[in-house]
């Protein structure tokens, strides 16, 4: 079962970096969104430069996050750096 976006809760702007991309983007997520949504949204935003991958990890503060946890549960705060590492490479 894949995660879905939850538009309730506060908006959290984050600096997203996708492995293989040439620049950092600003992605807006909700604090109740699953971490998986963060990964998908960043890949979608960077797709003009980097092909999206089905499998990926989301890194934050030196940790690999559980994709099923929410943004708030994972401790992602506004303007944090979040890295999405594609695993299909």
């Amino acid at each position: 079962m894949s995660a879905s976006a939850d538009s309730s809760g506060n908006l959290v702007p984050i600096y997203g970096f996708l492995s293989g991309d040439s620049l950092g983007l600003v992605v807006l997520v909700h604090e109740n969104d699953a971490v998986e949504i963060v990964g998908r949204r960043l890949q979608q935003a960077a797709n003009v430069r980097v092909a999206s991958a089905r499998h990926f990890e989301v890194h934050h503060g030196g940790r690999v996050l559980d994709l099923r946890r929410t943004v708030a549960e994972a401790g992602i705060a506004p303007l944090d750096r979040v890295d999405v590492v594609r695993k299909d490479e």
């Binding site: 040439s22 620049l23 003009v48 980097v50 303007l79 750096r81």
Partner: protein, 497 residues
């Protein structure tokens, strides 16, 4: 009649003792700069050109005559229209970033003409101010002629008056280095680092490139400007030598700070031009080869001569030469509507050339062009927005440029907290400068903070139109509209046709 050497110092080096006001009041440290030293310490200040005003005017008049003669011969719209489209983009990029930055340098030089600590320095700075006024007027005049045939050239004058992201970054740099710096920092940052280190040699390289692509107007303009730069840049080492005797760590800091900040902007403007916007058949060397031979070697020799160390981030810089301008160009291509000039996708032959010039990291950059090309293959020719980013990008809290440092597999951006507020910096050197002078930089609102505060639209199209000041007539496009003969889509269409 007096011989030249008998009267020259009476008109260029004439200092006196003050009888009713203290020297510190005539030259307050806040305006004249650190370290504050009595004039006794500055009185040996000298520079090699030792020009008089009469000589200056005569020589500048001849140079202007020469530029205008070339303009009459080959500087008209019809000549410009014969140039390759990508080179025309390079002209628009230089045309916008150069003239009004030079005008800001008039102000920096005039401050030194009043608050420089020795009269010979003040005399040379006066000529420097006149030089920079000339460097403002010549490109404005030459490019203004072209606005009629190409409205993107309107950005030659308009650029610094907009909130375009490149203008925000360029202003952040030039406001500090040119408009507000005291004469000592100006001499080290502008005359020594920016001019001696970069632009003086960059202009030589640009003139050579312009010659090869057949743009003799740009070649003449840049060559003429370079001869002025070579003269007034001599203020830098002369000031730096005296600062080194009294506060060498301050001199070291300023040289490291300004070399990094200058590098980022130069690598975009010149890196784009040399590796992407010069037709492949006319390229003689890569941006990296140019920087290695013309900038790094000379700059390091200049540092050693004065007793300064190489910047602590030297290894980072060497890696950046392989990557930074490539990462910015690929990123900017996918946000080309936010610029005032057109871009091109490097084709197979260009990518082959780039791989040969940048063997260590090109694979990572090439993958991005592969994806961009795939997107064009899936899109109709001319469907610009199908191959364009729609999500806001991040900007460095120091240099205000896009977060394109490090490598595609590991971007080097770092988040720094300052008084409860988070700032993102593109690289360790930018973070180092930011931390050293947080009180100067922390309050500046980058474009992301302006978006979050509601001062700028988050939608990229609205941001482009309403905040960056671009229109359908002026925003950047793919110079070929995505119609590249090597794209599979075009081949398919030809087969169908």
């Amino acid at each position: 009649m007096l011989r030249r050497e008998e009267w020259l110092d009476l008109c260029r080096k004439l200092d006196w003792d003050y009888s009713y006001v203290a020297e510190r009041d005539v030259f307050p440290e806040a305006v004249s700069g650190h370290p504050w030293l009595p004039h006794e310490q500055w009185k040996a200040w000298d520079e090699p050109f030792r020009t008089s005003y009469a000589e200056y005017v005569t020589s500048q008049h001849a140079k202007d005559d020469s530029v205008y003669a070339v303009r009459d011969a080959v500087g008209r719209t019809e000549h410009f229209q014969r140039l390759a489209p990508e080179w025309r983009s390079s002209l628009k990029l230089h045309g916008a970033t150069l003239p009004l930055a030079e005008f800001a340098a008039v102000v920096g030089n005039l401050r030194a003409a009043r608050f420089g600590r020795d009269s010979a320095w003040r005399t040379t700075a006066t000529f420097g101010a006149l030089d920079e006024l000339r460097h403002t007027q010549i490109p404005l005049l030459i490019f203004h002629e072209l606005v009629r045939s190409d409205p993107q050239f309107d950005w030659t004058h308009k650029f610094y008056h907009t909130n375009n992201w490149i203008a925000v970054a360029a202003r952040h740099l030039f406001d500090e280095i040119l408009l507000t710096a005291n004469p000592i920092e100006f001499a080290i940052a502008t005359n020594f680092v920016f001019e001696t280190g970069f632009t003086n040699l960059q202009f030589v390289g640009l003139a050579a490139m312009a010659n090869v692509v057949g743009d003799h107007m740009f070649e003449k303009m840049i060559t003429s400007i370079q001869t002025d730069e070579a003269r007034h840049a001599q203020i830098g080492p002369s000031v730096l030598k005296i600062v080194m005797e009294h506060d060498p760590e301050y001199a070291q800091y300023l040289s490291e700070k300004w070399f990094w900040r200058s590098w980022l902007l130069i690598s975009i403007v010149t890196g784009f031009s040399m590796d992407y916007l010069t037709p492949l058949s006319r390229r003689r060397y890569s941006f990296k080869e140019f920087i290695e031979e013309w900038v790094l070697e000379q700059y390091v020799a200049g540092l050693e001569e004065i007793g300064l160390r190489k910047p602590w981030y030297w290894d980072t810089l060497l890696q950046e030469m392989d990557l930074y301008h490539h990462m910015v160009y690929a990123s900017a291509y996918t946000y080309r509507a936010t610029a005032w000039f057109d871009f091109v996708v490097p084709g197979p032959e260009e990518r082959h050339w780039l791989r040969a010039k940048y063997p260590q990291h090109w694979d990572e950059i090439d993958a991005i062009w592969e994806q961009i090309s795939s997107r064009w293959e899936e899109s109709d020719p001319g469907a610009e927005w199908s191959v364009h980013g729609a999500t806001p990008v991040g900007f460095c809290a120091l240099c205000q440029l896009v977060l394109c440092n490090g490598t595609p597999s590991h971007n080097s951006a770092v988040v720094v907290s300052q008084n409860g507020r988070k700032h993102i910096l593109c690289s360790e050197p930018c973070a180092w400068i930011f931390r050293r002078e947080a009180e100067r930089y922390a309050e500046h609102q980058d474009i992301v903070h302006r978006i979050l505060a509601g001062a700028a639209p988050a939608n990229v199209l609205e941001l482009t139109r309403k905040y960056f000041g671009l229109t359908r007539e002026t925003w950047g496009r793919d110079a070929c509209g995505g119609r590249y003969p090597w794209l599979q889509r075009i081949k398919r269409l030809e087969r169908v046709g």
